[in-house]
Symmetry: C2
Subunit: 441 residues, 2 copies
């Protein structure tokens, strides 16, 4: 019997990396934001590492300070994946597509076309948009959460129904007889919901995996419910094993409530990495990248630890008095880890360089630390895999591929090659075409 192995995805964002200062680092082309060559090169590096998928987040708005930081996202996630689809052969291609500000017909068409183009490697991260800044780009106010999730359920259903509207064996294309397709197997869907509607059919035959795989992201009860019905994988965010295990269980339970096998839904929390030969080298790399932000992060760390800190004394460790007075904030799940790092005696600069105020758990150190983290979470039932955000794509992906991947393979935790050609193969997701007949509507 083959041992259960983990799934690894790679974040592919703005062309530089997941750290704000990535665009300035040595060896990084500062024009990578608009370079599709750069993104294809990065995707190929991940494919060399046998990653199951690329994940391209998207939010049609930008809230960074562009004076000093690059925008967060790709110019356009679908066009980036089109380039990557043509220039890779195995890695899965997953992009966020908002259910709030897109028409189901347009989503269905573009994701299924990508699925054909990539020979069955497309995945749709179907999420609601949040943020008034996004809504404003569409001339709207943000709908309530209930309305956004109501529309999301309908949109996923319509999209899947449109995908199935061209029957799986409808395409005949027999030049001798002149039969192009079997019209009777290509049928309108005629679905009308409270928020969206479409007649169809969508004139796109099945891909090698039938239709794209559904992903979802988030951790709310609404997210559990939506993912439980439709998603094969969840882009997660958990700071502790306990939280990740609880999230994974919540998603699995939701899948079961929807009539599915809980193993059909993979919980994949994030992990940020700065891999170097040793901890000191890794910390220095992080400092070079993000030190500019440390003064404001000191302010935030004060709140996490409940003590006053001095941003002008970054090179000193916390004093005995500060450590004694410190108490992790219950409102920030990262606080206990931050305090534990501080207690190890690192300077304030190094504490911050450990990434204690980042969006996901952070490995700043040698490859084996990342492998140990992943093994511990995986074996504790906290994760079915991880999506990795390297600090800098240009060399950070290679550092992961050349350093962490071989250790995981050696331990039998990660495959040595792709088992199949489609994203469904890579995830072990069951065949599906059109709507899932088990899920009630």
């Amino acid at each position: 019997m083959s041992k259960r192995q983990m799934i690894i995805g790679m974040h592919l964002g703005n062309g530089y990396g997941s750290q704000p200062g990535a665009w300035r680092m040595a060896g990084v082309d500062p024009r990578s934001y608009t370079s599709f060559d750069a993104k294809v090169r990065q995707a190929k590096a991940a494919e060399r590492g046998k990653f199951q998928f690329l994940f391209l987040p998207d939010g049609p708005s930008q809230v960074v300070d562009v004076d000093e930081e690059a925008p967060n996202f790709n110019l356009d996630v679908m066009l980036t994946l089109a380039a990557v689809a043509r220039e890779t052969s195995r890695i899965g291609l997953v992009a966020t597509g908002s259910t709030t500000f897109n028409e189901p017909y347009n989503l269905a068409r573009q994701f299924k076309a990508l699925d054909l183009m990539s020979h069955g490697r497309a995945g749709w991260n179907a999420v609601t948009s949040s943020g008034e800044d996004v809504a404003a780009n569409y001339g709207q106010r943000l709908p309530s959460s209930a309305k956004r999730y109501g529309r999301a359920h309908e949109t996923v259903q319509l999209v899947q129904a449109l995908w199935g509207s061209w029957g799986q064996d409808a395409w005949v294309h027999d030049q001798t007889s002149g039969r192009f397709a079997n019209r009777e197997k290509i049928a309108p869907i005629n679905l009308h919901g409270d928020f969206v509607a479409s007649r169809g059919p969508l004139y796109i035959p099945p891909s090698e995996q039938g239709q794209p795989v559904i992903f979802h992201a988030g951790g709310s009860p609404n997210a559990h419910e939506l993912a439980g019905r439709y998603a094969s994988a969840v882009i997660g965010a958990s700071f502790t094993i306990e939280d990740a295990r609880a999230q994974r269980t919540a998603f699995r339970n939701a899948a079961e409530r929807a009539g599915r096998d809980p193993d059909e839904i993979k919980y994949i929390p994030g992990l940020m990495t700065t891999i170097a030969t040793d901890r000191r080298a890794a910390l220095d790399r992080r400092i070079a990248m993000t030190e500019r932000l440390f003064p404001q992060r000191v302010n935030y760390l004060q709140q996490m630890l409940g003590v006053r800190l001095d941003s002008t004394r970054l090179d000193r460790p916390l004093s005995r008095e500060q450590l004694a007075a410190a108490s992790p904030s219950p409102r920030d799940p990262r606080s206990a880890h931050a305090l534990a790092i501080a207690r190890e005696g690192w300077s304030l600069r190094d504490v911050l360089a450990h990434g204690v105020i980042d969006y996901h758990p952070v490995i700043v150190g040698p490859a084996i630390e990342a492998a140990d983290h992943m093994q511990a979470w995986f074996e504790a039932g906290a994760a079915d895999g991880f999506w990795i955000s390297p600090d800098v794509y240009e060399d950070g992906i290679d550092a992961f591929v050349d350093g962490v991947v071989p250790i995981l393979q050696e331990r039998g935790l990660f495959h040595r090659d792709y088992e199949g050609t489609t994203l469904r193969d890579h995830l072990g997701a069951p065949a599906q075409y059109g709507l899932d007949p088990r899920v009630s509507r």
Copy 2:
């Protein structure tokens, strides 16, 4: 002084060709509908012929009889052009994007990303959608023409404003100073119309041509007005020199009314081609492709000529009595040409094989006939160029490139190589970034 030369575009549709039977022809892969390899190969053939642009029409619906015919359009025009952008280097990339069923922010983002990806070769054919079948795919009824054109004007303006919202020199990306962009040159647009609205900005820097070129298609007064304000080129449809000249004049006058130089708008009518060594070989090629449709076309030809025809006698020419009684229908601009062909004594089958009931003028014959047609129209002031719909892409493009293009070049009517690298260069379109300040709103 250099002689004025014509612009040539190539229709790129479903992977097979512009004739319904193209998918069955020898040498055609019957799976080309879903093959991006096929479309890239076809695009490269057009680039070899120095065509100024590819034109990918789109209508998110299909009305063909899929039992025997392939759907008309690409799976997804933007993903097709993304593949072509990566695998060609000069040819312009123009796709239809409906102003009726797309959000301006989504259109702006995807077309400008394509423009970056292709290094300044993108064009947007901004048209209103017509047809209840399209509207139904979006769960809607088709709005009135007035509303559709009202929304189209607003959408083009918003899209162009979003394109200009990232200032032309806002991107600094200076690694030494740490300056990524000049925030003061990246500003919201805050445009609110009666139909669409957007705040912006759009976080995409300029391409090598600044922003995509606007195309329009149609021949109504509404089309003249919209194109006159915004378009650099018009995808036209005219059956006679007289009509084409009138259309060209109408578009030029509309541009002048909008405060532009009329030479800034190019009128580009369509031309369908079946090129072979001689007329007989070309007719036989058309017969092999489309004879299946001739019985129903006989019915239509009857109406065009006002005489009874017998669809069971395709191999006979029209009788003296039929020719004497025939009179071209004033409701169909193709009728006079159809009668002229019939009077040449061709069999009924051959009359139809001349393409007398097609969507554009049709050349069925040797290359020189296409060159003569194009020269006559061009020199009569009826066209600034042509968009060519080859019968079958796989060999029909090569037949045009190897046969017609050298004649046109020899006559000084068509360039021997690209003068520049961008679509704006190819069209001689003036620089523009953001809204055109001359056009009143």
